[in-house]
């Protein structure tokens, strides 16, 4: 009986305390209107305090890159905060270098607006918009990669640079109640302004890739934002080396077609690493480009071709193939996109050939 009374007393006290906390939060966390000063007064917005900097800016149509949609898991939503953000939070620390902390770089998804705040963001961020789009086609490219074409509804046109990415918002499905955003590189050319193409590889257990692969249908509307990212083609190189694997082909495809379309007189060599023939896609298309354009060389390589593949192309790890083709005298820019393991291995090879951080470009989401 004593135990029962003790349990009841503790439960009652806990309930009362919880109610007091909820009521107190309602009043104490009313921060009122707060001003966000952007780029030394070049733009000012007034927001209701209490929300994160990332979502408050988003409500004012200022979109900060965020591959995870504000869950502090990607570290992409960095902004410089001049004043008004308080100390760096433990949730931000894993994503910030010592230099960044010294320069007041913060994760905008973790900063709660409680007072006026002054921030600095790149001017490019003002060009990022939210778009309503409709799924026009979904095509299986391999057993785990699909190509999606999205027609823009409102706004009806987008300006981006070859290599940049957009973010797609999922809708709730099955047990998933919340909307999340994920980043996907655009694979179509910038001249196609009324729609975009993206390539999505299914990640086991991935919230957004599962949505895209299994729940999104032709005709569905989706919300996306963009363009984002500084992985885009620089036109000041002598020649270009492109290296991709899996869905990393997306931004590279956009860059290659952009160069060909603009008739930029540069030599290009495109290495695509795959396991076996079933992992290859756009193979015929790039082969045709190779035959048609003197300045484009396509080098697909299989690391473990199946017996039935009848493959007469390059065989081996992409690193070995790149090492054989690229010589120390080349004065190129290298653009890489693929899995982190492939990127790290290829960067090491390129650096051993004299490439530097200034001549190697990659998007490591």
């Amino acid at each position: 009986m004593d135990i029962l009374l003790t349990v009841l007393s503790i439960s009652s006290i806990s309930t009362v305390l919880a109610i007091i906390i909820v009521i107190a939060e309602k009043y104490l966390n009313d921060y009122g209107d707060c001003e966000i000063d952007i780029n030394n007064g070049s733009k000012k917005v007034t927001v209701q305090g209490g929300d994160t900097l990332l979502s408050s800016l988003g409500e004012n149509k200022i979109f900060i890159p965020s591959a995870c949609g504000g869950k502090a898991t990607c570290g992409s939503c960095k902004v410089k905060v001049i004043e008004g953000a308080g100390d760096v939070l433990p949730t931000e620390e894993p994503y910030l270098s010592e230099n960044e902390i010294n320069e007041n770089i913060r994760l905008s998804c973790q900063i709660k607006i409680k007072r006026d705040i002054k921030i600095v963001i790149p001017e490019d961020f003002f060009n990022i918009k939210e778009y309503k789009a409709r799924v026009e086609s979904i095509i299986d490219k391999t057993y785990d990669i699909k190509e999606f074409r999205l027609g823009l509804i409102e706004p009806s046109e987008i300006d981006f640079r070859a290599g940049q990415y957009i973010q797609i918002k999922t809708k709730p499905y099955e047990k998933i109640k919340e909307t999340v955003s994920r980043a996907y590189s655009v694979s179509s050319v910038p001249s196609e302004k009324t729609g975009i193409e993206i390539i999505v590889r299914l990640v086991p257990g991935g919230i957004c890739t599962t949505f895209m692969h299994e729940y999104l249908r032709v005709g569905d509307e989706v919300i996306l934002s963009g363009p984002y990212g500084d992985f885009y083609l620089r036109e000041d190189a002598d020649d270009y080396i492109f290296i991709a694997g899996g869905s990393g082909l997306a931004p590279i495809k956009s860059m290659i077609f952009d160069i060909l379309e603009k008739r930029i007189d540069k030599n290009m060599i495109f290495f695509f690493g795959a396991g076996s023939k079933k992992d290859l896609y756009y193979y015929e298309m790039f082969k045709e480009l190779d035959n048609k354009h003197e300045n484009f060389n396509y080098v697909p390589a299989l690391s473990r071709p199946d017996v039935d593949d009848k493959w007469d192309g390059e065989i081996g790890l992409i690193t070995d193939i790149v090492s054989r083709y690229v010589d120390d005298e080349m004065k190129n820019h290298a653009y890489l996109c693929g899995s982190p393991g492939m990127l790290d291995a290829c960067i090491n090879i390129l650096k051993s050939k004299g490439f530097t951080d200034q001549t190697i470009f990659y998007d490591k989401f």
Binding site: C74, I176, E178, P204, G205, I207, F211, G341, M342, A345
Partner: protein, 155 residues
Amino acid sequence: MKQTPEFMKIQENMQPGILTAHGFIGDDTRNIKDIIEEDNKNILSLDLSHSDIADRMQYFTDLAVNELGNRILIDNDFIVSIDDHRGTMPCPFRDNYKAVKRNTKLENTKLGKTVYWSDLNIHMIRDHGFYEGKGSFFRIDTKDITEILGMITAK
């Protein structure tokens, strides 16, 4: 076992749609304290530690990384391959740990059994003694994993 508020927040993080599509609990009706407790008992009964298991998993993952997805034969009995994706995965235990999105597939050719794990699995086993709930996408059965990794002999 009753859970602390901190563990209740962790359990919330493990629901489908928060960090992954399927979550970390599966159809297990136990709370995570109980899941950890039971798996801990199983591991102790085998005279092993969570670090022993995590070290063994990491050993295979590290050897397979350089093969960029190719299968590699290790120590005569194990065929291992890696599949990695762009991005990182935060640990649901709110310890600020981020794992690369990398999955290891290991086949024990002697037993004819295969097991999959993610880099996050290795971390959660080593630092939290957590093997995920039953029915979860990346649940690792404590007895199976020790057999397949060649740490105990299958009976």
